[in-house]
């Protein structure tokens, strides 16, 4: 369980990234965070694995306040929170398998990982993860030989290999075309259901949020301005979150093309 209690985050330059955030995310949920660019979605998600550190309040993950963590504690926390990025963040010159095995880094000793001494279980876990996102035939391709959608699937496989309890996805489809976007969201959703991994996804497409989320959290200027199940969300809700009327580019579209 993830619990934000009165969390504030002020960046060194004075920007308020998070403002009095109180949110509780239960195990197994699929939560989509929506909001305009600059609303604080990335700050919210990156607080959970402490890529940024809130300046006040407390953030409990499995009943531990992670804001006090550093060094080993922090790496242990990050081992159980897998992350997916807008730009896939693969090592382009390394092959797919090596990229996916990097998901085991937190579970593997420094020397073993540097010498590539992964256990048989780790390697077969990496391979099965690639199979789950249907990209196992590219195992020895260099990452930069793959298309955007394929790279994002490899990054999902990397996260699966990490065997996290939580998956944080920061705009995972922002660089993809509509059909590929739906494919990636479908995989995330499937993993969430099959492995019961709590998943938090940042999106700014309304239609995708409605299609995949169990629950939607709306943010504006660092504040949580909406929090509720999808069944309670209407176009009106989005207009309130965004503070303006809905436009065509708030929709990804293309659901039936995929």
């Amino acid at each position: 369980m993830i619990e934000f209690k009165d969390v504030n985050l002020v960046y060194p330059n004075g920007t308020q990234g998070l403002k009095n955030v109180n949110v509780k995310i239960n195990d197994g949920e699929f939560v989509v965070i929506v909001g305009l660019s600059g609303a604080g979605k990335s700050t919210f998600i990156r607080s959970i694995n402490r890529l940024v550190t809130p300046t006040s309040g407390s953030l409990l993950i499995d009943d531990e306040d992670i804001l006090k963590f550093h060094g080993k504690d922090l790496r242990k926390l990050r081992t159980k929170t897998g992350m997916i990025f807008q730009n896939y963040n693969l090592v382009k010159r390394s092959n797919v398998l090596k990229n996916v095995l990097a998901g085991r880094l937190g579970h593997t000793g420094t020397l073993r990982s540097i010498l590539n001494l992964y256990s048989k279980e780790d390697i077969s876990l990496a391979y099965r993860s690639l199979q789950r996102v249907n990209i196992d035939e590219k195992i020895y391709n260099r990452a930069d030989e793959l298309s955007g959608g394929q790279q994002q699937r490899v990054s999902i496989a990397r996260v699966l290999t990490q065997q996290p309890k939580y998956i944080l996805a920061d705009e995972p489809v922002a660089s993809l075309d509509p059909p590929t976007s739906h494919q990636v969201m479908t995989y995330l959703r499937k993993v969430n259901k099959e492995d019961n991994i709590t998943t938090i996804v940042n999106l700014h497409f309304i239609d995708m949020a409605m299609e995949y989320a169990d629950r939607i959290i709306g943010m504006r200027a660092g504040e949580v301005v909406f929090d509720g199940p999808v069944s309670e969300v209407s176009e009106r809700t989005f207009e309130e979150i965004y503070g303006r009327s809905i436009r065509e580019d708030d929709m990804r579209g293309g659901a039936n093309e995929s």
Partner: protein, 271 residues
């Protein structure tokens, strides 16, 4: 619409650069040309006999140096190998020492500012000392031989290599590093998995490049007492044995060209 169009056509075609820039560039160009002409005139005046005299001297020099005495070739093998060894050992040591220094002098990886500034300043200091000066100092300290030469080359090439590798590190894609950190990797794992693959080809290429520089530098260093073929060349010139010296010069020339050729081919294959 039509009115706007016609106003843009023939009469006034804007030039690519604003006229102010053009004037500045022309001015700078003229100043530099002036400096060239002046220094040409000045050096000629200082030179006894001017360009004409130099051409005359050249003839006498060439006459003394030719034909080269290739009978000394077998005796040159050992010192030539020493020179190459000097460059290889120095490049290897520098290539290893470069790794921590380059990482610490890369702003994107070493986020702790004081360490970054100290390393950067240290490297800048290293680069201000010419290799010849280093060699003269070390020959003074340790006596004539290969060791002072190697030491001088290590310090000299460390300055160049760590700077170039450091800059390569600063230009890498930081996204994969963030991903490794986010998955619980420790700093060493992050560097090994996300940084090393990105800089390895460039690093190898730079090491080869510095090796080429070191081969040439080690000849020159030998000249001030750091052993190898340079030392022999210096001795032969001291005995006024010009045909021997010419043979040595030709050997150096050929060896340097061969090594640069191989090194270039390797670097081409890498990138």
């Amino acid at each position: 619409m039509t009115k706007e169009n016609s106003s843009l056509t023939p009469k006034k075609v804007p030039s690519i650069y604003p006229s102010r820039t053009k004037k500045q560039v022309t001015f700078i160009f003229l100043v530099i040309l002036g400096i060239y002409l002046f220094s040409m005139y000045w050096t000629q005046r200082e030179m006894v006999g001017g360009i004409g005299g130099a051409l005359g001297n050249m003839y006498t020099v060439i006459e003394k140096f030719f034909p080269p005495n290739f009978a000394v070739l077998p005796a040159l093998l050992d010192p030539m190998i020493q020179t190459i060894q000097m460059a290889i050992i120095a490049t290897t040591v520098a290539a290893i020492l470069t790794i921590p220094l380059a990482i610490l002098s890369a702003q994107n990886v070493t986020t702790f500012k004081p360490i970054y500034y100290v390393t950067k300043t240290f490297l800048n200091l290293l680069r201000t000392i010419p290799d010849l000066v280093l060699a003269v100092i070390f020959v003074g300290l340790f006596g004539i031989g290969l060791f002072p030469g190697i030491l001088a080359l290590v310090i000299f090439s460390l300055g160049i290599l760590a700077k170039l590798v450091g800059e390569t590190i600063e230009s890498v894609d930081m996204n994969p590093l963030e991903a490794m950190r986010a998955s619980g990797g420790n700093p060493l794992q992050v560097i090994w998995y996300a940084l090393v693959p990105q800089v390895l080809p460039q690093y190898t290429s730079l090491v080869l490049y510095v090796f080429e520089i070191n081969i040439r530098a080690s000849v020159v260093l030998g000249y001030v007492g750091a052993g190898g073929i340079g030392l022999i060349l210096n001795q032969q010139l001291g005995f006024y044995n010009y045909p021997n010296a010419m043979a040595i010069i030709i050997v150096i020339f050929v060896v340097v060209i061969i090594i640069e050729y191989i090194s270039n081919k390797l670097r081409e294959a890498l990138i």
